[in-house]
Symmetry: D2
Subunit: 341 residues, 4 copies
């Protein structure tokens, strides 16, 4: 049994991660921690927990966690994960970070998009970006896995094979994304109050969302050239799920909807969590919520010659805690779907 | 007092129209009709109606309506409005049609997008397209007003002045739209059941929605050249509202976000129902629901040089019944906001 | 034109009240105030406001308000309304208080249910309880109108005539109520976050909600004897509306469902905002939302001999701001439905 | 591996049952059937299914099912389950019926509450009512298990121990229940359209819901005397979950909230799926959705001497398919939580 600690178990991703780990056949939870000063029974944060589970979320103590855990999941606010991650790496632990702190390779991007200098820029090189389907072999040997952001996951899965095969024009990508409200976390702000979100729909962080550089890093890597995208996130009156509607120009006239779909099917033929929709069917949140799937669909607008690609995930699962467990499964040689199917 | 009849008063748009007309200071409702065989008390369809209102929705009878009504609102399924509209025009009535039956100028588009030959193609020329802010002077003299579709209204208001001034590249327009479920009408289909819509979000009629030719007709008219757009509608788990997120390339390097905003502000400086958002603010459904406003916002993605324009309306008001009343107000010389503010 | 001031215009009830007053044919808004230190354009709080409305919500200043207002609406947190109300009464203004500060006649109830001693207990006697349908003649001459609470309004309208006629057993009343989330106000608390409320339903303040003594005061007054009720409020994942499902024993065997309905119909025969449902039909939130109506329905459970009475209102309208305007209309001799229909 | 067939796998309960059985460690699905004439890939009904699952829902054929299945789950409309159940019992299969067809012991109740004569009244005696926590020992030997209704489950679990110990007055029970919309099934009716349910809340089948006799049968059995209850169901704008708010008089003055809670804790001390809330905490839908738990809470209204008991379940799990699997686990000696935790 692998010993796991979850740091920051009171938030939405921490709680979801704990839920998965509790039912996982190959692991044991050694610590659930919080930055708060008092212990909290797990059942207050995760009400779906079984009666017999007596776990508590306890105040964070580095030495305690270090003593028992083999793998440490960081569900911490960004900047805090930097330092905590560094500490556990020095202590020889495998670290899976769900924050953005180790996602970007270029340290110069942190001040611009996250408003802080990176405290341990050397760790950025060491970190393996945990987009499972793309980096599986490197994840197997990683000590520091940087779990992808919720918004970048779907579009990266959908577009990277197409860019790799030069099927779409790199400069033409527009990502219109819509996310459930759990993506905003538990912080008390007016924008996530029920009466603001319910019966509403609106764009936010227009042209300045911090996931833009992460998306561009992924797509640029696949394309072998520097790519810029337009990315507009919207807030949906639902709990979970992200649907991205992606617009792009085919790179050449010979590209068809079928050829695009075929490339995607081949790219993910052996990936248990990616499902390519058949012609005429498109992803929807209800198909992926409470699952670790990423559904992808394709339509060519024959009238304009434009390609439309859709991706859908559950932002708390494939977009956060589910993918984190998938990363752990890959890293430690468990079946990739253990605890997730 | 102007005598009004509403044909098809049991649907969402018919009921909303009736609600507005009841409180309108310049009109009297003479008939509310249904294709069903039995009378229905209005309060069963429009529960917000006051206790004293004793109106009923009665089986449709042409002669009865003809006898009293000055203006006839058609809230009928498409193809049915064609023939009924023609009849009332022959009878000398002013017809305001909320269906799509008189919206397209080119009769050849009806078989392609609506699956039927147009029964009265000559009427298409006669019809004035009731996008109030654009066609006000022609509406004043119209006998047949074709009320715009819910999806075309917002993007047309947002883009027509920009195309008219050659500020955006005509071939570059992508419209990502999301609509509340009332837009689908009352027909019993699985796709609008609560358990399908709630907590869900998905695209539908991908690259084949029947509002595409109407949008293209409007934008082409403004641009003075034939324009094709990509248009992807999505279904939102809300009752009312359409937000369109529109992507376009500026036509030249000198176009800035501010210049775009200024053009829009000037274009609608005297229009009571169009509101241009200041820099950094964007339309949302909650700002327009239960109103006749069309809110428009603008952002230039300086990193990619792409323009993002947002429009928001209430699909049952500015997208249907509110605009129909606005058209009546213009046509009959009432204050443009009568019954609507 | 009557000069109105709204103190506390940034909350849900203040904004809704402002919306009604703006369209009211007999009044002029002189002040909208806030306890915050900076002015806020009204359109930021009330986005449905027309473009031409240039009003701002300004920092509260007693002298300014006093100079111009004839009637002062208090949408203030409780305890604050006590002192402010007293000041404006001394200044000769008519005060309509939407808080609970003047609702209870017995000052001893304030420490118990609201946690504070009442600062001006003498004002409690002076205050006229603004349940329009019941106290109309006293409201006409009132200087201080205490607007009823959202939860007490519906059950009081439904039960007071039945208690007055001794048709139900006074000790048997159980009120199971469910409210939309706007009832909780704008305060940032975890319980009103979207992800807590959405897809959820639960009781709260079980057997200790502060509206209990107000309900009991109303019902006791009607019965002519001291009545205690069981009252359990629940939070609904909707924006607006309260449905109360009320259980009671008939006072005698001769009481039938029809006789109950008849008594209610007679009691409210001339009241424009109370609608008694016919047999077999029951109130629902969708029938009353965005209206000032109180719908009441009745069913006798013939198997158990128990009576079930339902009441439905929009908590922000008949349960707060709508009723406040109805009170103003009565007080100043305007048509009772002015601004409300 | 136990061979399972699900008859009627396209509805909400059939699909949820299939989902659980697919992940259950001790069973194999041999048939998923439909009354429709064409096969349907399971993934169209159950989109969360894994890519590798190639199952289809096929047209029902008795002989085929009989050949392979050890246990047959009936997710059929009522009256249809009667005959189909009888057939499979004759064929020697264990039948778990999720309809109401075998729930009531008295055949005379079927014409009254379900509108039909029972075709096989003798089977009613044979049927074991599958309220797991209450009938566990009889379920172990049952050939026909009648799975409880969604509404009866929670209140029966909450009240039966209290009635058994004579702690509450049998004639005093009022059950105010609110259910998510999945409880209404997939049938296309206006009442379950999104625009009817969303932002709405209302009572339905007032004093005539068909679950009343089932509740009374359970409670009468526990009390050892004939009990009648008042039961009012309401429709909630949520997908899943039933909260029952139950009012009752204590049988004697010595009954306290603590004594009630203690009796419940003892009654269910070893039941993995019943959780009794500590003092001051109450069940909510969010705590039980997507789980097989039944949460129970208690509050004594000391002012009126009335007892309030709450129960919450997920109507598709503990209220239908979850409990059906729990019954199968008990019947076949699997761990009671297999597939459910």
């Amino acid at each position: 049994m692998l010993n796991c600690a979850v740091l920051g178990a009171t938030g939405y991703t921490g709680a979801e991660l704990t839920r998965i780990l509790l039912a996982h056949p190959n692991v044991r939870i050694t610590h659930l921690t919080t930055r708060q000063e008092k212990s909290i029974p797990l059942r207050e944060i995760l009400p779906s927990v079984s009666r017999d589970v007596k776990l508590a979320i306890t105040p964070y103590n580095f030495e305690n966690v270090k003593r028992k855990a083999d793998v440490v999941f960081l569900c911490l606010p960004h900047t805090e994960a930097m330092t905590t991650g560094d500490l556990f790496l020095k202590a020889g632990k495998v670290v899976i970070d769900l924050s953005a702190d180790f996602r970007l390779k270029d340290p110069a991007l942190y001040p611009k998009w996250y408003g802080v200098e990176h405290a341990f820029p050397a760790r950025l090189k060491q970190a393996v970006y945990g987009l499972c389907e793309v980096n599986r072999s490197r994840i197997r040997k990683a000590r520091l896995i940087s779990n992808p952001g919720c918004y970048p996951t779907g579009p990266s899965i959908a577009l990277m094979p197409l860019l790799g095969k030069k099927l779409i024009a790199p400069g033409s990508i527009i990502i219109n994304a819509a996310s459930g409200t759990s993506g905003a976390g538990k912080k008390l702000v007016p924008a996530t109050q029920f009466c603001e979100v319910n019966e509403n729909y609106t764009a936010y962080k227009v042209n300045k969302h911090q996931h833009i550089p992460e998306i561009e890093q992924n797509l640029s890597g696949a394309a072998g050239e520097k790519i810029k995208v337009t990315f507009i996130p919207h807030l949906l009156p639902v709990q979970r799920g992200i649907l991205a509607t992606i617009y792009a120009e085919p790179a050449k006239a010979s590209v068809t909807e079928d050829s695009i779909r075929k490339v995607l099917e081949n790219a993910y033929a052996k990936d248990p969590f990616v499902r390519i929709k058949p012609a005429g069917q498109f992803p929807s949140l209800k198909d992926v919520r409470h699952t670790n799937f990423c559904d992808v669909g394709v339509s060519m607008d024959v009238r304009t010659g434009r390609l439309v690609v859709f991706s859908a995930i559950d932002n708390l699962l494939k977009g956060a805690s589910g993918q984190a467990v998938q990363n752990m499964n890959i890293r430690f040689g468990f079946p990739e779907g253990a605890g997730l199917i």
